[in-house]
């Protein structure tokens, strides 16, 4: 058998290296990857389509279940879009509670990712350590929202729950734990010889490619793109804060755009989130957290609204965008979700090219993919948005073949 023939290696959708179903097809020459492609869509549940027959308050619960890790990302983006259309102003305190919970989500998501990355490198003790310390953030989240995942704290016009003054102490204790732990995390993830040797120089994404492929979040910041929605277009309480996008330079090194830089950015973003939560707790304004307590009144305001809006949020993985259009009805007439992985997954074929087979798991994981956020199909036809099922698409394909035969 000729040794240098390019082979196609299918990975997934069910594979131990993948936490979620996605199909990746690699063309390999020996140990080297010369081409890569991916097929998402295995977790497509038709959430946008379901949303078109539900009212905004019901959709908020649905958005929570777009992704279990980004528990606040999608509900916040959706709520912000609806609030713009219906002209609802979120009370200041509601904005602060939203910011605090969004930053706690970033802490747990980055720790989760750091653990998975260590696991992909075969460094399981570090994986267990990262997940052990993540439980502190989960406890804080449960303490604030009542849930560990799928927080359900966002409501149109604010948040469902307030953070009471007697809760501050426990939250501050949690933040202090992380502060004390940070130097240890930094040492374990950034100074370890194994991680350095496996991650420096692998999965290179240049500044130009990151810009050309519109990468977002830590993936783009690791390549030197100074894009962070919280800084560029401040929303919620971010406008009151003094924050800067975290680049690999935070660790005093040059921007390289490799897997190691993505670890650096995420580790330092944990520190940034701790600071943000502390500042928010110190400056919490008094007042209500919700524009209107009665759900019926919220729904009435939404029903009267018409127009379109885009709601955005800097999720742990990058910018998430929700487009909503409403037209004096219970349900929105259009809803489109663009999750951060949708932007980031397109760099996979670039950063996988030239990699060794054994480096694939860590490179695939380095963009922190989240397929359940990403898998949705919508086709615009004559201005109306339709979503096609696989059967419909195959039917259309058969019909086209028949037309061509005639």
């Amino acid at each position: 058998m000729a040794g240098n023939v390019p082979y196609k290696i299918p990975i997934g959708p069910i594979h131990p290296a993948l936490k979620e179903p996605v199909h990746i097809e690699l063309t390999v020459m020996g140990e080297e990857v010369i081409g890569a492609d991916f097929t998402p869509g295995q977790t497509h549940r038709g959430i946008e389509w379901m949303g078109l027959s539900r009212n905004p308050v019901q959709i908020v619960h649905l958005t929570d279940r777009i992704c279990g890790i980004c528990g606040v990302t999608h509900s916040l983006s959706f709520a912000r879009a609806v609030e713009q259309i219906a002209g609802i102003t979120v009370p200041e305190r509601g904005d602060y509670v939203r910011t605090i919970i969004a930053e706690f989500e970033r802490i747990q998501s980055h720790l989760l990712w750091a653990g998975v990355a260590a696991h992909e490198l075969g460094f399981d003790s570090l994986f267990y350590l990262a997940w052990r310390v993540r439980e502190d953030a989960m406890d804080a989240i449960e303490f604030i929202t009542g849930n560990r995942v799928n927080y359900d704290i966002i409501q149109i016009g604010g948040t469902r729950r307030d953070i009471t003054i007697d809760q501050y102490a426990k939250i501050r204790t949690c933040l202090k734990t992380y502060k004390d732990l940070f130097s240890k995390l930094k040492k374990l993830f950034l100074e370890d010889a194994v991680i350095k040797s496996r991650c420096i120089g692998t999965g290179l994404l240049s500044f130009e490619t990151a810009m050309a492929y519109s990468a977002v979040g830590p993936t783009s910041r690791a390549s030197g793109v100074t894009a962070d929605l919280r800084v560029d277009y401040p929303y919620c309480a971010y406008g009151d804060l003094d924050i800067k996008p975290v680049l690999p330079t935070a660790y005093g090194k040059d921007v390289n755009g490799d897997t190691y830089d993505r670890i650096v950015v995420r580790i330092f973003e944990i520190a940034q989130s701790i600071e943000i939560i502390e500042t928010c707790l110190d400056n919490m304004p008094a007042g209500p957290v919700l524009w209107e307590e009665k759900v019926v009144k919220i729904l009435a305001a939404c029903k009267k609204a018409s127009g379109e809006a885009v709601g955005r949020h800097e999720a742990p993985r990058g910018e998430a965008v929700h487009y909503v259009a409403m037209d004096n009805a219970d349900a929105p007439i259009a809803w489109k979700v663009k999750a951060s992985t949708y932007s980031n997954a397109h760099v996979w074929p670039i950063i996988l090219k030239g990699a060794q087979l054994a480096d694939i798991p860590i490179i695939v994981a380095s963009i922190d993919p989240c397929m359940s956020c990403t898998d949705r199909v919508a086709i615009t036809d004559n201005g109306s948005t339709k979503i096609f099922t696989k059967e419909q698409l195959s039917k259309m394909s058969y019909e086209k073949t028949r037309r061509m035969l005639q």
Partner: protein, 143 residues
């Protein structure tokens, strides 16, 4: 539920994501990590269904995943136990009106243990595994 005095072997688990939102999957991994640590009883995730005693399925089963779920189930050696984690695998949950669902899971493969919740807490998942052990021992006893 009555457990025998000793476990006669370690219980190995294969995790299958059939279109879940990730919430249950994250809780499953959280269950396996040091705070709850079922690995001291030999419970661990394995990479191949051929090595597994328990098939842990999450998600409402999208059309694309239905056939893959059947194939993974067929690859597991008997006796085997199927455990469904999360509400959407049992009824569709919030996704019940979707056009792209082939599930719930018990319409695709036989299910032995249900762990409800969206997402269930790690304690609930551990309770499910304990129930699965009892069922597996019954199966092995030929009852």
């Amino acid at each position: 539920m009555k457990l025998t005095n000793s476990l006669n072997r370690s219980l190995w688990v294969f995790h299958f994501n059939a279109g879940s939102c990730n919430g249950c999957d994250i809780e499953i991994v959280a269950t396996l990590t040091p705070r709850y640590d079922p690995e001291r009883f030999g419970v661990k995730l394995v990479g191949s269904p051929r090595h597994a005693d328990v098939l842990l399925v999450t998600g409402p089963v999208t059309n694309q995943m239905a056939d893959r779920l059947r194939r993974v189930y067929a690859q597991m050696p008997s006796p085997k136990v199927v455990m469904v984690v999360g509400t959407c695998g049992q009824s569709g949950g919030v996704f019940h009106t979707s056009y792209n669902l082939a599930g719930p899971i018990d319409q695709i493969i036989p299910v032995d243990v249900y762990v409800p919740g969206c997402a269930p807490r790690p304690e609930a998942i551990i309770n499910g595994v304990v129930t699965a052990i009892a069922k597996l021992e019954r199966l092995e006893g030929g009852k």
